[in-house]
C-alpha cells in the first residue's frame, strides 16, 4: 500500500498509509484502538475504497479492483467479527470458500484432512449451524474457511480477541502451521504476547498512518519505540 487515504462518509480515517507485506512472512499491524488498523485491512480487501494512493499485489495495481477479484487473487480474510454464516453448517461455511468445489466431495481431501487436524472443532461440529458454536469455535471455523484452499495472503483481524487461553494456544499453533505452509500473513492483534510468537515484521499505526516499521527482532530490541508507540514493553 502506498500513500493510501480512506474516507468513510465525512470522516478521513487513513492519512497516507505506506505498508509493505513481505512474502512468506507474518507482518504484525499494531497500534492503539482507533489508529486505523481495521480500516487498513478493509481498504486492502476493497471493502472500503481508497480515496487516494495505490495498492499493489505482486506488482499489479489492484486499487480499483473489487473485493471479490482481490479474494480470487489468493487473499483469505478473517474479519474481527469472525463473520461465520450462522445459519449455515460448518461444512457449508467451508464449502463456500472453496472456489473450485461445488460439493464437499470436490474439495482436496488431503487439504481437508489437514484442516480438520489443525482445527478439531471443524470436524466435531461439521454438521452444526455455525451460529450455535462458541466464540472460539467460530474463530476456528473462520480461519479454517479462510485457508480451505491455499492462499498467498491471509489477512486476519484480532483473532484472539475474547478467547480463552486454551483456544488462543490452539489458534497460535494453527497459524504457525499456516505460515509454515508458505502463506503470508498480515495480522492485526492487541494481544502482543500472542502476536510476538508469530511475527516477523512489525508496523505500528497512529492516527491513520504507519509511524514505525521494522523487523520484529529490531522492534523488540527497541524499548524506546515500544514505549513511544504502544506505551508498554514487549
Amino acid at each position: 500500500m502506498a500513500g493510501v487515504h480512506t474516507h468513510i462518509g465525512a470522516y478521513h480515517i487513513l492519512h497516507g498509509v505506506d505498508l509493505v507485506v513481505p512474502k512468506g512472512q507474518v507482518t504484525l499491524l499494531l497500534g492503539r484502538n482507533g489508529a486505523g488498523k481495521t480500516t487498513t485491512l478493509r481498504t486492502l480487501m476493497g471493502l472500503w475504497a481508497a480515496s487516494q494512493g495505490s495498492i499493489r499485489w505482486n506488482g499489479q495495481d489492484i486499487t480499483a479492483t473489487d473485493t471479490a477479484s482481490r479474494a480470487r487473487l489468493g487473499v483469505g480474510y478473517v474479519p474481527e467479527s469472525m463473520a461465520v454464516f450462522a445459519d449455515l453448517t460448518v461444512a457449508e461455511n467451508l464449502l463456500l470458500a472453496a472456489h473450485k468445489a461445488s460439493r464437499m466431495e470436490d474439495v482436496d481431501a488431503q487439504r481437508l484432512q489437514w484442516i480438520k487436524q489443525l482445527f478439531p472443532a471443524v470436524e466435531t461440529f461439521w454438521h452444526y449451524p455455525a451460529g450455535k458454536l462458541s466464540g472460539g469455535q467460530k474463530q476456528m471455523v473462520a480461519v479454517a474457511r479462510a485457508v480451505i484452499e491455499p492462499r498467498e495472503l491471509l489477512v486476519i483481524d484480532e483473532p484472539s480477541k475474547g478467547l480463552a487461553p486454551a483456544i488462543v494456544a490452539n489458534l497460535l499453533e494453527a497459524l504457525k502451521e499456516v505460515k509454515r505452509q508458505g502463506t503470508t500473513i498480515l495480522l492485526v492483534e492487541q494481544n502482543l504476547a500472542f502476536a510476538r510468537r508469530l511475527g516477523d515484521q512489525v508496523a505500528v499505526m497512529e492516527d491513520g498512518r504507519i509511524v514505525h516499521a521494522a523487523s520484529q527482532a529490531d522492534f523488540i530490541a527497541d524499548q524506546a519505540a515500544q514505549q513511544r508507540y504502544l506505551g508498554l514493553s514487549l
Binding site: D66, T67, A68, F85, L95, P120
Partner: protein, 342 residues
C-alpha cells in the same frame, strides 16, 4: 504446496447436543385450522375453506418467495413487485387468446399444455422485465430505503399504465380450461380442481426452492448472502450478480404467481398486483425477511385466515391478517424464522 505434513492437533472439543429444529411455526397452521373449526361449526364448510385457504396461501407463497429473498439478500424494499404479478396475469390472457384452440381442446393434456405455456411465457417476460427494472430503478438506490420505496412504487404505477397501453384498462377474463374447472368431493366438502392444481404447483415451487437453496452452491451463496453479503464478497463472489439473478428469478416467480392468481380470480385488471402487494408484505414479514420456509408458513397462515375471516366476518378479512402479523411480531419480533444478520 504440500499439505501432507502432520499438523499440530488440539484437544477435540466436547460435542454439544444436536441442535433442534424449530417446529413451533409449522404447528401454527394446524393450530389455526383447529381454532377455526368451532367458529365455523360445520365440518364440510370448514374443510372447504381450509383447502381453499391452503391453495390461496400457496399462490401467495409463489409470489412472495422471490420478494423475501430480494429483501434478505440486498436489503432492497421492492414495492413494485406487484407489477410482475399483473404482467404475468396479462401475458396469460394473451397466451390463452393465441392458443385458444388448445384451451378449448377436448384433450386434457392439450388444455394443460396451454396453461403451462402461459406460465412459461409469463415467467420469461416477467424475468426479462425484472432485469430492466433492477438495472433502471433498483440499482441507483441500493442502501437507500426511502428512495427504494418511492422509486419502486413509481415503477409499479408506470408498469400498470404500460399494461393499460398494451392490454387496455378494462377487466379481461381469464378462465381456466375445462380440465381445471369443477370440483372434487371429499365427504360433504367440495374442493375446486383448480385449487388442487395451484397447490401442487406451489409445492413444486417450494420443493425446487428448498432444493436449490440447500443442495446447490448457488443456493448456499444466496443463503450466505442473505446473512452477510460483505463476507460473501470477501470470499470471492460478486454479490451484485447474485442479487440480479435472484431479482430476475423473483420477478419470474411473481409472473408465475400472477398467472395462478389471475386464473384463481378468473379475471384480470391492471391493479391485480398492487391489490395483493399488502398481503405479500404481510407474508414475508410474518415469515422472517429472507426466509423461504417462513414465507411458506406465513402465506399458508394468511390464506387460511383470509378464508375463515371472509366467511365469518367479511369486513374484517384484511384486518385479520394485519392482526395476525402484529401478534406474531409481538411473539417473535424477527418473524417466524428470523434470518441471522451481520
Amino acid at each position: 504446496m504440500s499439505t501432507s505434513t502432520t499438523a499440530p492437533t488440539a484437544a477435540t472439543p466436547a460435542v454439544p447436543p444436536a441442535p433442534k429444529r424449530d417446529w413451533i411455526p409449522v404447528l401454527l397452521m394446524p393450530a389455526l385450522a383447529l381454532l377455526g373449526l368451532p367458529f365455523i361449526a360445520d365440518v364440510p364448510v370448514w374443510l372447504t375453506l381450509t383447502l381453499a385457504g391452503l391453495a390461496m396461501g400457496m399462490i401467495i407463497f409463489i409470489i412472495a418467495s422471490g420478494l423475501t429473498l430480494v429483501f434478505g439478500l440486498m436489503d432492497v424494499l421492492n414495492f413494485g413487485h406487484g407489477v410482475f404479478i399483473a404482467l404475468g396475469a396479462f401475458v396469460a390472457t394473451t397466451v390463452f387468446a393465441l392458443l385458444g384452440g388448445w384451451v378449448k381442446s377436448p384433450d386434457a393434456l392439450t388444455q394443460l399444455a396451454a396453461v403451462f405455456a402461459a406460465m412459461l411465457a409469463a415467467m420469461l417476460l416477467a424475468g426479462a422485465i425484472g432485469l430492466v427494472f433492477e438495472r433502471l430503478l433498483v440499482r441507483p438506490v441500493y442502501g437507500l430505503h426511502l428512495k427504494q420505496i418511492l422509486i419502486t412504487m413509481g415503477g409499479m404505477i408506470i408498469g400498470e399504465e404500460l399494461i393499460k397501453v398494451f392490454w387496455g384498462a378494462q377487466q379481461v377474463p381469464l378462465e381456466p380450461p375445462m380440465i381445471l374447472r369443477g370440483s372434487l368431493s371429499i365427504g360433504d366438502a367440495g374442493v375446486e380442481t383448480y385449487r388442487i392444481f395451484a397447490t401442487v404447483i406451489g409445492l413444486l415451487v417450494f420443493a425446487s426452492l428448498v432444493w436449490v437453496l440447500s443442495r446447490t452452491k448457488i443456493g448456499l451463496l444466496i443463503r450466505a448472502g442473505v446473512e452477510n453479503g460483505e463476507m460473501v464478497e470477501s470470499l470471492g463472489y460478486r454479490i451484485r450478480r447474485l442479487f440480479v439473478a435472484v431479482f430476475v428469478a423473483g420477478s419470474a416467480l411473481a409472473g408465475l404467481g400472477g398467472v395462478l392468481w389471475g386464473l384463481y380470480q378468473q379475471n384480470v385488471i391492471p391493479q391485480i398486483g398492487s391489490q395483493v402487494n399488502i398481503l405479500i408484505f404481510i407474508v414475508i414479514i410474518i415469515g422472517g425477511l429472507g426466509s423461504i420456509s417462513g414465507a411458506l408458513i406465513g402465506a399458508l397462515l394468511v390464506g387460511l385466515l383470509a378464508n375463515y375471516a371472509g366467511f365469518l366476518a367479511p369486513k374484517a378479512a384484511l384486518f385479520s391478517n394485519i392482526a395476525l402479523m402484529v401478534i406474531i411480531l409481538v411473539w417473535r419480533p424477527g418473524g417466524l424464522y428470523p434470518v441471522a444478520k451481520r
